[in-house]
Amino acid sequence: MGFLHYFCRKDNMMKTSIHFSLKFIIGLILLVGMFCVSMVFGAASTSLQDVWQSIFTGVKSDSINILRELRLPREVAAMLVGAALAVSGAIMQGITRNPLADPGLLGLTSGANAALAISLALIPGINYFGITIACFIGAAVGAVMVFGIGATKKGGFSPLRIVLAGAAVSAFLYAVADGVGIYFKISKDVSMWTAGGLIGTSWSQLQMITPFIAMGIVVALLLSRQLTILSLNEEVAVGLGQKTTQTKTILFIVVILLAGASVALVGNMAFVGLMVPHIVRSIVGTDYRLIIPMSVIAGAFLMLIADTIGRTINIPYETPVAAIIAIMGLPFFLVIVRKGGRIFQ
């Protein structure tokens, strides 16, 4: 990967980055550890040896099949979605300089949701690719609505104003999704998609979604330097010779890809994009060249924890992972609001 040289450079300008490689490696080790934990624990009891055999060998047995066909794709999906949401949250916070930015709070998730419901209603038997595309379109529409409302008044991009617009638009779009579900008598299908969380994630879904998320993350890494400058001050960015409109457009598309793909995979998942970048900032600082790669790891880690808790806290029943995340996320949200959105300072 081209970005690896970040982790090994010895910049005398950035004292933090000397330790960054270490932090990144520790993060990776923790992630791998958490992955093993989440593979081992669950309704069906398995051992670490089963996990190893399910991934690296062709051995077949009941428990190994469960791992390979159910738990493995599910945990891979958890990591992908966690990474995607965390990176899209980090990008949104950087572009808008709004510490409360999160795809779930700013209308992207609910937009994708509504689009998903509408596409299920209008195109019976729509395939997974169609659903994915619908989610991208919906995420874009939701975001445009929120920022459109936010921009109607001068100085409208204040953190809380945008969040209020996001809440209003999200409520509206969720109502649209519900309404469509009820009218076309497909509520069950819709909620299976949107509230299903990680249950029933299949390899074929992953095959469809992974390229989008991977592409989004790579582009985000490529533009991370531009994002740091943009996050400082837009005028400074122009003065330094950045094509800000072009940069923001590309980053916006990346956010939509990541958020839309996440909804197509697991449905609603607020707070991941909000929480992770803040936690990451407290570890690696505010340079997006470090924030983005670290968000990938931390986002994946958080989702693995949440999903493992969801699967094990009330065996044999599943607790929705979105609920677990929300329970973790809400206090976090309140802390940021309490700080008056000044967490960047």
């Binding site: 081209g2 970005f3 040289h5 970040y6 450079r9 910049d11 005398n12 300008m13 950035m14 004292k15 933090t16 300089r97 490529l222 330097r225 740091t228 400058i229 996050s231 400082l232 001050n233 005028e235 400074v236 122009v238 003065g239 330094l240 010779g241 950045q242 094509k243 900032r281 600082g285 505010t286 340079d287 960047f344 300072q345």
Partner: protein, 263 residues
């Protein structure tokens, strides 16, 4: 010799023009100060010249080329801009922030070259910020922070530097510190400096050339002796000013003033 000038420049949104048909020449290797009352379009003019905002009609010309058609990265090597009180540096260290001044010279992932490091070190040395290199910008005092931002602009290695009210929110001593730094850059490094200032006496003391604006138009542009006069200040600020000579610098200064009555 003039490298930078505007020709019939109009800036504004829709029907409301903030700056109207403004033509001004920026003298090379001099300090130019733009003064005028609140809302007269000083900052707007500065932003339009530096292509931060677009203009409605007219042209800004730098080295014989239309600025709005020039490659923005090429421009970033010719002119640096320090906007009004940049918000927090969101946790970056001084060294990191200054290193972003090298942005226009970098490609791809932006590894810093030997040359980049030399320029960055030089910029911090000149602005007396080297000792803060590893400290977060946000932990510094207002005056120190302003010097760090100037260091970033210097790291851009441009011959022209624009500053929008570089002394705002600073106490008297720190204001002077910043202005003296700019003066030194002008004298020793031959940089062309263009800035918006609120304080008339500071403008008179540090500028070679003053542009006085009102309602988006030039009332008077010229050397300080021609601009800091009773008549010009009456027209620009609506004040009745008493002009004297600063005993230390021999520059004109406004000793006291009253609001003009009946207008």
């Amino acid at each position: 010799m003039v490298r930078l000038y505007t020709d019939d420049l109009s800036i504004g949104y829709g029907e409301q023009l903030i700056v109207k048909d403004l033509s001004v020449q920026i003298p090379n290797q001099k300090i130019t100060t733009i003064i005028g009352p609140n809302g007269c379009g000083k900052s707007t003019l500065l932003k339009a010249i530096t292509r931060i905002i677009s203009h409605q009609s007219g042209t800004v010309v730098l080295d014989g080329k239309n600025v709005s058609k020039e490659n923005t990265k090429v421009l970033a090597k010719k002119m640096a801009i320090l906007p009004q009180t940049p918000e927090s540096a969101s946790g970056l260290t001084v060294g990191e922030l200054v290193s972003y001044g090298r942005f226009p010279y970098q490609t791809g992932f932006g590894r810093l070259s030997q040359k980049d490091y030399e320029v960055i070190d030089w910029a911090m040395k000149v602005t007396n910020t080297s000792t803060f290199k590893y400290l977060p910008v946000d932990s510094l005092s207002g005056g120190q922070r302003q010097r760090v931002w100037i260091a970033m602009a210097l790291a851009q290695e441009t011959e022209i530097i624009f500053l929008d009210e570089p002394t705002t929110y600073l106490d008297m001593a720190h204001q002077l510190e910043v202005l003296e730094l700019l003066q030194r850059l002008n004298k020793e490094e031959k940089r062309t400096i263009v800035m918006v200032l609120h304080d008339l006496n500071q403008a008179a003391r540090f500028a070679d050339y003053i542009v006085a604006l009102k309602d988006g138009q030039i009332v008077k542009a010229g050397p300080c002796e021609e601009v800091i006069t009773k008549e010009v200040l009456r027209g620009v600020f609506n004040i009745d000013a008493e002009i004297g000579i600063d005993p230390r610098t021999n520059k004109p200064m406004c000793i006291t003033y009253d609001l003009l009555k009946g207008e």
